[in-house]
């Protein structure tokens, strides 16, 4: 037995040396072994980024599997999704996991963003990590919007018509943008082609690059320490090794998420509650719109807020006014590390905190109203 172990050890050692001779990975291993992760009452928040990453990987894998049977086009998209669900072995499971992981990834990313915001982890020197994270969230939402249309069912068709119509409300570029997004004046088979290209080629490319940048930033700068630690003596600070301790804990969380994902996908393959994606009936551009047209849950707050606005505010259209306000609000949110000049000194910025509370309350209230009033 011991002979076997020593043989294995020597094989691993020899393999490591073989790689190290060629790629000099000693430095990387040394760096990893010295990397430490702070331990405090909010340490659990560190796992949210990893959960988002794990769910993204699940989506890439299931997305590739779906790609083998999905056929874009007004005459084939719906039928191919129907075929995947009903005939392809485990096709139903792949689609269910893909949809669940998409929704859970957005949820995890939102939670990740708000925990970073309220712990001021975005503060100097992590401004660019925050910005790249915001970019990733934007891309994730673009993934959701473009993927929603791909089954070419009734609800997706009309929701996309409303969604792209909002882009058309923009001044000067609105009309052109609408045509570019839809591939014409209306949502047609050409729109599926564009959304499909966006969903499986352009967005994954951009996402991978930005994700790499985000992860490199995190690895280079390490995990942000709590703002309360600024004044704390080093002796009172507690850390754990990134490798293997934190990495193994991350793995454990991934396994738990995988288990939750499996249970949800098997018990609710079409989703449940606000996360619901039944295939339903095929899109028919000549059919009257369904009684309830609603976007994905993470767009609901914006959708509902725009519905509340009157037709005209001052001299501009209400919808355009809403889009401008959301754009300004989003920009302020993205640039918050540059506005906040207090947190890096160890003081909590009250204004930023209340701004965050306002945004969270607004999103929650509008989302709830969106589902109640529909």
């Amino acid at each position: 037995m011991s002979t076997n172990n020593s043989q294995n050890d020597s094989f691993v050692t020899r393999a490591y040396q073989w790689v190290n001779e060629r790629y000099k990975i000693d430095a990387l291993v040394d760096y990893m072994s010295h990397k430490a992760v702070p331990i405090h009452k909010h340490s659990a928040f560190y796992y949210l980024g990893g959960i988002s990453l794990f769910l993204f990987i699940v989506q890439v894998v299931t997305g590739i599997l779906l790609l083998m049977y999905y056929r874009p086009g007004a005459d084939s998209a719906y039928e191919s999704v129907q075929f995947i669900i009903s005939t392809v072995s485990f096709g139903w499971l792949v689609r269910a996991v893909h949809s669940w992981s998409a929704n859970l990834m957005i949820l995890a990313a939102f939670l990740h963003m708000f925990t970073v915001f309220f712990t001021y982890a975005y503060r100097r020197p992590r401004e660019l990590t925050w910005l790249s994270g915001m970019g990733l969230l934007g891309l994730a939402m673009a993934f959701g919007f473009s993927g929603y249309l791909l089954p070419w069912n009734e609800l997706a068709y009309f929701a996309t018509r409303v969604g792209t119509g909002m882009a058309g409300a923009l001044p000067v570029i609105g009309d052109e943008l609408l045509v570019i997004m839809r591939g014409g004046e209306e949502v047609t088979g050409a729109t599926i082609g564009r959304f499909f290209g966006l969903h499986v080629a352009i967005l994954p490319g951009l996402f991978t690059v930005l994700l790499s940048v985000h992860l490199i930033f995190v690895q280079r700068q390490g995990m942000s320490e709590p703002i309360e630690w600024t004044e704390k003596p080093e002796s009172e600070k507690k850390y754990q090794k990134f490798f293997p301790n934190f990495l193994l804990k991350d793995l454990l969380v991934w396994l738990i998420v995988l288990n939750i994902l499996a249970v949800l996908a098997v018990l609710f393959p079409d989703g449940i509650g606000v996360m619901h994606w039944p295939l339903g009936v095929k899109a028919d551009p000549f059919a009257p719109p369904p009684a309830v047209i609603r976007p994905e849950w993470y767009f609901m707050f914006a959708f509902q807020a725009l519905k509340f606005l009157p037709a005209h505010i001052l001299f501009i259209e209400g919808e355009l006014f809403g889009i401008i306000v959301f754009s300004i609000g989003g920009l302020i949110w993205a640039l918050i590390p540059f506005f906040d000049r207090k947190s890096h000194t160890g003081k909590k910025p009250k204004l930023v905190f209340w701004f965050g509370v306002l945004v969270v309350v607004f999103i929650i209230v509008m989302t709830i109203l969106g589902y109640i009033l529909e």
Partner: protein, 411 residues
């Protein structure tokens, strides 16, 4: 001065023309004054003839420009109110004139009077001088005649039964004709009456669709299959090549009516076919009557019953699969095929040929069994998914627990 004279002359001419036009229809001016709201002079404005530009004198004659009623009655061409006997010819003077009608309404036929003469009403009116029978105005009304497409018209499909019922549902009025007066009530309770009057299905027949309108007559025994076959074409074709056709003719049975009755036709049920009560077959057939009637009826009934039973089983299993959230689109389509075959099997009963019914029912049985098998597979798949979930979830949990202890050990 010269200009003033011209202006006065033109003004005088205009005034004369206006006064002449105003006097064009003095009939209405006077009659509307002394008639109440239901009087002819008020009703006429809703009449299609008036709306098409015909005036009182176009039917009643006389000079409408005269102001005194006596003068009108004595004027040239006045013929007042035509008698009940005169009405058909009176209306036909225009409606049978193809050239005249072509100018006003080219789509309207001009054979109504000819048909009326062949109708029971026309025969009694012209043959026996019976003025109680219906003439044109009895059905179309007087002075507020409407296009049959208009909902307020007495000849609109939704109003026809009521129009016919004015006489035919009145026992006192119909007493001397010795015919039943329950037809309208029977019809309203029938599958046809309910489809038309309750579901507002204008494709469903009303009185004139079977009896004819201007040539109204009971559809005689021989022509009954043809009358019903207007709509139920496939059933009529099957019946006409069945052994029953000849037998019914020989025995003077009223074809379709023999089994389905006439006015009070109910939605057919599977119990109508068979060798035992309440099947209609036993009304004529009995065992040992020298025909294969009861044997055929029993075989047809058994085939339909079996198909219905297997269809119901397949439907129940499919509903179970649907309830479990499985994708059942293909099975739903296949079940629709079964339903279609069941309809065809029931229709084939009119061939009174058990082989045709059995073969068609067998086709349905096979398809229904496939639906049941596929639905059962979906239910099995549902449980397979859950078992798979339990196994994989257990595996992941064990892995997670192992990892947890490994992490604890690291501490």
């Amino acid at each position: 001065m010269k200009n003033n004279i011209i202006i006065w002359m033109v003004a005088g001419l205009v005034a004369f023309a206006v006064s002449a036009l105003a006097q064009d229809n003095n009939c209405l001016t006077c009659h509307q004054d002394f008639e109440d709201e239901d009087g002819p002079a008020h009703k006429i404005v809703r009449d299609i003839h008036y709306q098409k530009g015909l005036l009182c004198n176009d039917c009643h004659g006389g000079d409408p420009t005269l102001e005194d009623m006596d003068d009108v009655r004595n004027s040239k061409g006045y013929h007042g109110v035509p008698s009940h006997f005169e009405v058909p010819k009176f209306c036909a003077s225009c409606h049978s004139n193809a050239r005249y009608m072509h100018e006003h309404n080219p789509s309207l036929p001009t054979d109504q009077f000819d048909k009326y003469k062949t109708s029971k009403h026309g025969q009694l009116l012209f043959g026996k001088k019976d003025t109680k029978v219906a003439n044109c105005v009895s059905c179309h009304s007087v002075h507020e005649i409407g296009d049959a497409k208009m909902p307020h018209s007495s000849t609109h499909p939704l109003n026809v039964a009521k129009t016919c019922g004015k006489c035919h549902a009145d026992p006192d009025y119909m007493a001397e004709y010795n015919i039943p007066t329950t037809q309208v009530q029977d019809y309203l309770e029938s599958v046809h009456g309910k489809a038309l009057n309750e579901d507002h299905d204008l494709g469903a027949p009303t009185c004139n669709d079977c009896h004819g309108n201007h040539g109204a007559a009971p559809p005689g025994v021989g022509s009954l299959a043809a009358v019903c076959g207007n709509c139920h074409a496939f059933q009529a074709e099957l019946f006409n090549r069945s052994p029953h056709k000849e037998a019914f003719v020989e025995n003077d049975f009223p074809m379709c009516e023999t089994c389905h009755s006439n006015h009070n036709i109910k939605k057919p049920t599977d119990e109508m076919v068979g060798a035992e009560e309440p099947a209609v077959c036993v009304r004529c057939h009995e065992s040992g009557d020298g025909t294969k009637g009861l044997e055929t009826a029993a075989a047809m009934a058994e085939s339909i019953k079996e198909l219905v039973s297997v269809r119901d089983e397949a439907k129940a299993v499919l509903a179970n699969a649907q309830q479990k959230g499985m994708m059942t689109t293909d099975e739903e389509f296949a079940l629709k095929d079964v339903e279609q075959i069941l309809i065809q099997t029931r229709t084939l009963v009119h061939s009174f040929n058990k082989d045709e019914v059995v073969v068609k029912a067998k086709e349905g049985l096979e398809k229904a069994k496939i639906v049941e098998e596929k639905s059962t597979s979906l239910i099995d798949e549902y449980f397979f998914r859950r078992k798979g979930l339990i196994i994989s979830s257990l595996f992941i949990t064990i892995l997670a627990i192992g990892l947890y202890f490994k992490i604890r050990k690291l501490k």
